[in-house]
């Protein structure tokens, strides 16, 4: 599938993902993200399996739209089913503070035997916050621009490498089980940013989907992805300072 510019399959993909962002609205972040990523992968694979000619590209775009159209009733009944599940009873149906549900506040306590590992985690979080800030700026730009400039695309690729490297560093980190919530939340946020940056230029991620994931601080009272990383880092910093003192 061509990724330069928006060809018929990319336009169809954007349309299908916009519909998916609509029917996953108000569902738990994990459920919604799973459906979106799985759908993005499926559409990408279908586009990649098509030939490069304009005619074939148009044909595959039609097929993608048709597949989405034929599944509308199933999409809606799946949504109803997900909303009825017990885990959803406390989740609002409208765009909700998803991070409150999925990322409960953590107050890390430093246990001396794992202080060294936590210092490494602190370094990872420092780097993650810097990369997340750069990613937020790039995602805003990607949202405004019809087509990314070469420099933006290069920065996007660079950020993807940074997030992947951070994921590796986190995966290799030895850690105490007591700190797994901090580590798990960091891992989830890194995966989220990696996905967003990967998708931004591939399928023209819609503002609707962006709002759902609360990437930008539309509501100052609500924690965003990057502010969640900052608070994870600050909490850990505070706990480490106490131990050192």
């Amino acid at each position: 599938m061509t990724t330069n510019g928006a060809g018929p399959p990319q336009r169809a993909a954007a349309c299908v993902l916009r519909w998916a962002a609509t029917y996953t609205r108000g569902l738990p972040a994990e459920v919604a993200a799973t459906r979106m990523v799985e759908l993005a992968s499926d559409i990408y694979e279908q586009g990649a399996a098509a030939g490069a000619s304009r005619k074939e590209q148009r044909k595959v775009a039609r097929e993608i739209m048709l597949r989405a159209f034929r599944g509308l009733i199933s999409d809606l009944s799946w949504r109803e089913h997900e909303l009825r599940r017990p885990h959803n009873r406390t989740v609002a149906r409208s765009p909700a503070p998803l991070f409150d549900a999925e990322f409960p506040p953590i107050q890390p306590k430093v246990i001396p035997r794992c202080a060294a590992e936590l210092q490494t985690l602190m370094t990872i979080l420092d780097e993650a916050v810097a990369a997340a800030n750069a990613a937020d700026a790039l995602l805003t730009l990607a949202d405004r621009q019809a087509r990314p400039e070469p420099d933006d695309a290069r920065l996007g690729l660079h950020l993807r490498f940074r997030f992947v490297n951070l994921q590796h560093a986190l995966a290799e980190l030895r850690y105490c089980p007591e700190h797994s919530p901090t580590r798990n939340q960091t891992a989830a946020l890194l995966a989220f940013y990696l996905y967003m940056i990967t998708s931004a230029f591939e399928v023209r991620f819609s503002p609707l989907a962006r709002d759902q994931y609360v990437v930008l601080a539309h509501d100052p009272g609500r924690q965003t992805t990057s502010s969640k990383l900052v608070s994870l880092r600050n909490e850990l910093q505070r706990a480490l300072t106490v131990v050192v003192a």
């Binding site: 992968s41 990408y44 694979e45 399996a49 599944g71 009733i73 999409d75 799946w78 993807r160 990967t198």
Partner: protein, 138 residues
């Protein structure tokens, strides 16, 4: 004139499953997914949404791929009932090929057993039908 209204309960395949569906029984689409998944697994090929959709269209000799909503709703239901296991692909593989990450599926032991039992039941039903219709057909 009284009119019966259809609600999502009646339209949804979820209303047929879980509580009311007979234990061990599966829908035709679920049987096809299990067959396609096992075929892919035997060939040591990854089992994910699009690979299943492609296999299903080949096995039905159909031109159209299964609709997104139908396929992913069925897959989710099958994971819930333990017929399939799902996991995310290693991000390195997706990165190396510059494509979105795949959600990989594996047919569980329960899934394989259910498929086996279902195929046996279908064969028995076919034999019974033939023996019932035998005199009429001969």
């Amino acid at each position: 004139m009284s009119m019966k209204l259809l609600d999502s309960e009646k339209l949804s395949s979820y209303s047929l499953d879980m509580s009311r569906r007979r234990a061990g029984s599966i829908l035709p689409l679920e049987r096809e997914i299990l067959e396609a998944g096992l075929d892919l697994q035997v060939k040591n090929e990854p089992v994910y949404g699009f690979s299943l959709a492609r296999m299903l269209s080949h096995s039905r000799s159909a031109r159209d791929l299964t609709a997104h909503g139908t396929l992913y709703k069925a897959l989710g239901r099958m994971v819930e009932t333990g017929l399939l296991e799902a996991s995310w692909e290693n991000p390195e593989h997706a990165e190396a090929e510059s494509r979105p990450r795949r959600r990989l599926y594996r047919i569980t032991g329960a899934g394989a057993q259910t498929l086996d039992a279902n195929q046996t039941a279908v064969k028995i039903a076919a034999v019974n039908r033939r023996s019932t219709l035998g005199p009429a057909l001969s």
